[in-house]
Symmetry: C2
Subunit: 516 residues, 2 copies
Amino acid sequence: MNGAQSLLAAMIRNGIDVCFANPGTSELHFVAALDHADGMRCVLGLFEGVLTGAADGYARMAGRPASTLMHLGPGLANGLSNLHNAMRAQSPVVNVIGDHATYHRHYDTPLTSDIEGTARPFSHWVRTSPNADSLATDAAAAIAAARTAPGRIATLILPADASWGPLTAEPAAAEAVVPEAPQAAGTAVDAAARVLRSGETTALILGPQATREIPLERAGQIADFTGARLYAPTHTGRITRGAGRVPVQRVPYPIGRAAAAFDDVQNIILVGAKPPVAFFAYPGRPSQLYRPGTRVHELARADQDVPGALTALCDALGAGRATPKRAGLSLPGRPAGALTPAKIGAVLAASLPEQAIVVDESITTGRSFLADTECSRPHDWILGTGGSIGYALPCATGAAIACPGRKVVVLESDGSGMYMPQALWTQAREQLDILTIVFANRTYQILREEMSNLGVTARGPKAKALTDIGGPRIDWVSLARAFGAEAFRAATADELSRHIDAGLALQGPVVIEAAL
Amino acid sequence: MNGAQSLLAAMIRNGIDVCFANPGTSELHFVAALDHADGMRCVLGLFEGVLTGAADGYARMAGRPASTLMHLGPGLANGLSNLHNAMRAQSPVVNVIGDHATYHRHYDTPLTSDIEGTARPFSHWVRTSPNADSLATDAAAAIAAARTAPGRIATLILPADASWGPLTAEPAAAEAVVPEAPQAAGTAVDAAARVLRSGETTALILGPQATREIPLERAGQIADFTGARLYAPTHTGRITRGAGRVPVQRVPYPIGRAAAAFDDVQNIILVGAKPPVAFFAYPGRPSQLYRPGTRVHELARADQDVPGALTALCDALGAGRATPKRAGLSLPGRPAGALTPAKIGAVLAASLPEQAIVVDESITTGRSFLADTECSRPHDWILGTGGSIGYALPCATGAAIACPGRKVVVLESDGSGMYMPQALWTQAREQLDILTIVFANRTYQILREEMSNLGVTARGPKAKALTDIGGPRIDWVSLARAFGAEAFRAATADELSRHIDAGLALQGPVVIEAAL
């Protein structure tokens, strides 16, 4: 048995069964070992951001880590931006990064780089295995780190000679020992209960561990019992929602609208979330979205047992028998005519299938989509978490692999979709049921809006050119077909409706260019 | 005047006249300032690796830095892999990375990350400007750092409030003070001369500063006078070559062939290069490519005046009147029939136009292309330097911008080309004369070869699948057209020949899929 085989066995024993891979020479013993290991599905990506984004999407839906396999510092570098999103989504991910043989590094050959230094800003845990014998234990430690609440990024660096080297002893049957998430402090629960009983206006900010069905039920009971309002941060990893689920409002992205939402709020209770703060700073505007004087209380930190804290709070309030307000099923009629955000929202609301997974990177086009779909068939909604755009196509890839049998619907903007379109190829290769709608407005529209928000009023030709992506016009139908996906173009709401139905009926990936 | 305007003025005054940009909200004051600054060409890329690769290509051809503009840690992260290549090419690059306003950072909002930590493994110089007043001086320092021999990566982090903040005083007319490259030591020159006079077999390894026309002439005189052999490292930034130029052999990538080349060599003289070492380690094989006992001498370090060292050596030998062996013009006939590497090489050799810039990422298909084109019309040949694949389309973009009027020919493999195909869009937008030939063999062929080299003989279905990129088949013609480039498909050598001629006659980018 060599190091790579021992590593793989330890990964599989500790519950890793998917590897999103883009191997190079240093990883080939790991690749060869895959054929001796049952229970590890390998998914090839043609660019590393596809792998890390897929691992993020997998973790958001499966609730446990997948692994990635990447090639030295530059391979890891290509995957970092989606690791940033995964960190912010609290997604557990286990990266395996091949490196040169230990004795080869000091020659400083072309591919040599500081892999640990590259990994560190985007990982909670980084280790380089020194040799074959250490790999089983290191794999278990990496997996334990990744699965430590609320979900972390672990990066294990695999020198080629550790990979190909023979074990000198039987490998340890290393178990990943995952610490239990600590309970929220009783004093925090009591304090929150006092606030909620006070009669003051109170908002609960529900972090990503609190926007799943069960904790949302508890939050809904609290809201029903006390009149508190429920919010999810603007950039939240996953919200379980639609008919039958407790609705939660998203903190609006535009700071004026966000500040208005909190204008009358006297107390904010954080439930594994941070206080609401503007995504960017704007000259002369405060970063905090709530008024000075608003009292901020923390029920639970993100690394504590967040659902348990909601249950404890519900109990402390005696709200356990309250009936939360749940969304009813209400599907709008299907509009026709010119494509507008409102009509797109209605088409989506009407057509989302039961248990759909929506991956939303629709940016400016999609500001109303969450509200529009509140009473759609039950579904999960995934949002960008770290502000690194281009995450949606990779994330959808991983979500589809985590949830076979569920349809994934990607709401993509044409600017964002251009960062990692290679994900479409993996979707076609794996025949994943992913329907992507690209809202093609041919601009970085958010930058045009932000320019006004920043107080930049004079816009010359260069500023205009740098926010214009319409020349040349990107042909999303050709692009999708080049990668092996089916594709349509929709110029009206009825065409969009028809293509969505047709796309959902097909197997494998489908792209619809919605020409705005 | 605000900080962004002061920064831009300092960049332009110090010779930066191109900015490869993918801005976000934090960079919008910089974007707005562009319209008040004459002398800065802005080139939009849809993915950050396109920007850094273009800056690398620009530097390799122009010999001076361009700037990039990227958006916080994740934007920079997407650009790192091509910065790695640029570092290894000794290309000067000035990165400007937008950050949150200084007072906003501590809120740890979704896009917050450790930008300095992200930059450091891929930069020689990193600085965060604290305020508007410091930007002119910091820009000059960044440019001086980038232009310090042999060419470095400088990363300047631009907080949004430094960008939008008003200057409190007239900006310093900051000048980039670039230190002169130090001369090689006289003792090193004398020692090299003694070796070359000894009659022992000697190879000169010419680093990237030595493979341009003038230093190659000196090296050629030394070779003629002493019988020394001339080599360029396998991964060298740029070789000026073809008819009329002194030919230099590339150290072969396969270690067996490389070791054979150095088998009889008693002395190696390094001319701004490192000793020849295998790109990867292989079990049981030495990393060094030369025999134990071979004496290695260093004429000049890469950060010294490498061309000057060759002139000094030439003088010390009294070789100044020697006539170097130059390649003669010899164009092969154009073959027909099935596409083979040998026929492709002949087609290239016959069709490369005068002063072409060849960007070579042809990997396994192109092993003979350098030899094939030694006697083609005079041209420059650019190679991958850092082993981070996908560099060629971005690098060609920058090379074309540096050299209007010259044709750029990209020799691309279908695996590598999939990392950053978005570069084609920028090529179309800027109407750059870049002809890309994609050698579509539908596999990561190099990995299949490396598996044998590593001693992995049993190849199961997973290993086979992870090196197969033929399912689905990527349609390069559709892909190129989706990005606004013209495209053809060639299945035979005569079709390839015809499409190359047609492509070179067009303006703007053209892609030819050579179906192997």
